[in-house]
């Protein structure tokens, strides 16, 4: 097939590939946690909540201020999300309010600072223009997040399946929730500040969902998520290069995300096919209701 090294030997393609592989590892750990605990909306909330941090960081320190700002906002939003989910309002509404509040704060900040950061950059990132410095920081953040999840994996699983039981067993459920949300936030920050919000969301949500369609076992789901993330990331980048040589200037982040969605749909199809062959039709008794 295609030699994976020739196009990616160029640093502007090699660096994104390294980052996407690292994000695939995050997808196998943080993404699986998100899937098990149904935190998809919180993840979306975090991606948007990072925005004011980027705006403040850019206003204070230029390009160098982006990551510290994003980390600060991400951590604040993670703690707020973990805390607010325990209050009376349903989780769904709470996340929506945190999300829109943080984001609109960012929009107002950008409009105040006049051309500080670009909203488009924030959403679609600069996948092909990241520097070695960006890459180093992003890899560190992802590593911290993965270590946080792996270190608490057993307890996280218990709390994910049976929060009440975990509380009765004496596990610090709130602390676990904060740790989990912070780990998600770190991955989201690492991805948002480099490859953009869109790809951050796609990496956290899509591979784990695809893995769940294919397998029920947790270790297999983790392995498949990582492989899926790495494979679709590589295929997406390759597609970007092919499109570019064909003269189509497609957004790299969006192309990679769409590749992941296509892979997900394939996984769904494969999963459905396997279930159909395994399914035995149960006889259904006829129903007769005497209406009067």
């Amino acid at each position: 097939m295609i030699d994976p090294f020739t196009p990616f030997a160029a640093p502007f393609l090699g660096r994104p590939l390294i980052l996407l592989v690292a994000l695939a590892v995050a997808a196998g750990t943080v993404g699986v946690l998100v899937h098990l605990r149904r935190l998809e909306f919180s993840t979306d909330g975090l991606t948007h909540a990072v925005f004011p941090g980027l705006a403040i960081g850019a206003a204070l320190g230029g390009a160098a201020g982006l990551l510290p700002g994003a980390i600060g906002a991400g951590l604040v939003a993670a703690v707020v999300l973990a805390l607010i989910s325990r209050r009376g309002q349903p989780r769904d509404t709470a996340v929506a309010i945190v999300l829109t509040t943080f984001f609109s704060f960012g929009v107002v900040l950008v409009s105040l600072s006049r051309g500080g950061g670009s909203i488009s950059d924030f959403f679609f990132g600069r996948l092909l223009t990241i520097t070695w410095g960006d890459l180093g920081v992003a890899l560190t953040l992802i590593a911290v997040a993965v270590v946080l999840i792996v270190a608490t994996a057993r307890q996280q699983l218990f709390a994910a399946f049976d929060a009440a039981g975990a509380r009765r067993a004496g596990l610090p459920v709130l602390a676990l929730e904060v740790i989990g949300t912070v780990a998600i936030a770190l991955v989201v920050v690492a991805a948002s500040a480099t490859v953009g919000t869109l790809l951050a969301l796609a990496v956290v949500i899509v591979p784990a969902a695809a893995a769940r369609a294919l397998t029920r076992s947790l270790p297999a789901a983790i392995a498949i998520s990582i492989a899926f993330g790495a494979l679709t990331g590589w295929a997406g980048l390759w597609l970007v290069v092919q499109l570019a040589t064909a003269g189509v200037d497609a957004a790299p982040g969006a192309t990679v995300a769409l590749t992941m969605i296509a892979g997900y749909l394939l996984a769904l199809g494969a999963g459905a096919l396997r279930r159909r062959t395994a399914l035995r039709a149960a006889p259904t008794p006829e129903r007769e209701r005497v209406a009067r």
Binding site: V95, S104, V107, I119, F124, A209, L268, G271
Partner: protein
């Protein structure tokens, strides 16, 4: 409230038109927000805003009506999401997440391939100051539909939101109010999105209704209070954006969030003396009564 000489569209300047639009959009978002908050469909709404994006871009490329394209894309992606949500290993949260990512990615991809289409920033935060008469008419029409839906099917919507199992046991089909609710939400998103943007759209739909829910004990008051808060947020936010020179979308969303924060404060202060809303524990049956306790041997 605002200095409208007459409701004659051409006589209004762009700020007057924007004012009229935020009043209509605030009322519509408040009314439909009650549905979103009581049925816990905020994530669905958020995903829906993103799902309309590729449709809007495609419509702009093809040169057809943008709300029409947005509606078509929304319906298509809802169908996919409903299908994914029914798969046991995936569920509704995954379905919303996929709908959001797919819509967003597809829109961004189309946009990058045909750069002349529409502005991504205006998709996200809206261009309320560039509102047209057609936008106003669409918002007003959907507002009328939302009012009709509440008037005719309100008790069905509430019954199935409060107690879906009870609704089914009463011999009624829960998918009917569910479909009606999703269609109303989708129509609202399509109508107000081009004007107020995705993020502001969600803020305007969720925050006023959530604030109203904290303040009242009867859902009918939510239908009064939520549109009122929505209109007030729109008007105040628009004024603030004019006088402080801020992004209009962001300012309106922040005022709505502020209203929610105030409602939360009022709620917290009111709940304090009453030791919260703790459910009284069921009184146990006194001993010595004739009962059968089945335990494992």
């Amino acid at each position: 409230m605002l200095d409208l000489p007459a409701l004659d569209f051409p006589a209004l300047d762009f700020f007057g038109l924007a004012m009229l639009e935020v009043v209509l959009a605030g009322a519509l978002a408040g009314l439909v927000g009650v549905l979103v908050v009581l049925r816990e469909r905020a994530f669905f709404t958020m995903s829906l805003t993103h799902a309309t994006f590729p449709g809007a871009v495609a419509a702009a490329i093809l040169g057809v009506s943008i709300p029409l394209g947005a509606a078509v894309a929304a319906v298509a992606l809802i169908a996919v999401a409903v299908g994914i949500g029914r798969i046991r290993s995936q569920g509704p949260a995954v379905a919303s997440g996929i709908m959001l990512t797919a819509g967003f990615a597809l829109g961004a991809f189309l946009q990058s391939v045909a750069p002349l289409a529409i502005d991504v920033e205006s998709f996200l935060v809206g261009q309320v100051l560039a509102v047209t008469g057609a936008d106003l008419a669409l918002t007003a029409a959907v507002l009328a539909v939302a009012l009709a839906v509440w008037a005719l099917a309100g008790r069905h919507l509430i019954f199935s939101s409060v107690d879906e199992a009870g609704y089914r046991r009463a011999g009624l089909a829960p998918w009917l109010p569910e479909t009606l609710a999703l269609a109303t939400i989708a129509g609202t998103v399509v109508a107000i999105m081009p004007v107020v943007g995705a993020i502001l759209g969600v803020a305007l739909i969720v925050a006023p209704a959530a604030a109203a829910r904290l303040l009242v004990r009867d859902w009918r008051w939510m239908l009064v209070l939520a549109p009122a808060i929505g209109i007030a947020s729109g008007v105040l936010g628009l004024w603030a954006s004019r006088w402080l020179d801020l992004a209009a979308g962001g300012a309106i969303a922040l005022v709505a969030a502020l209203a929610y924060g105030l409602a939360w404060l009022v709620h917290a202060l009111r709940a304090r003396p009453a030791v919260g809303d703790a459910v009284p524990a069921a009184v146990r049956i006194p001993a010595g009564h004739a009962t059968i306790e089945t335990r494992s041997p």
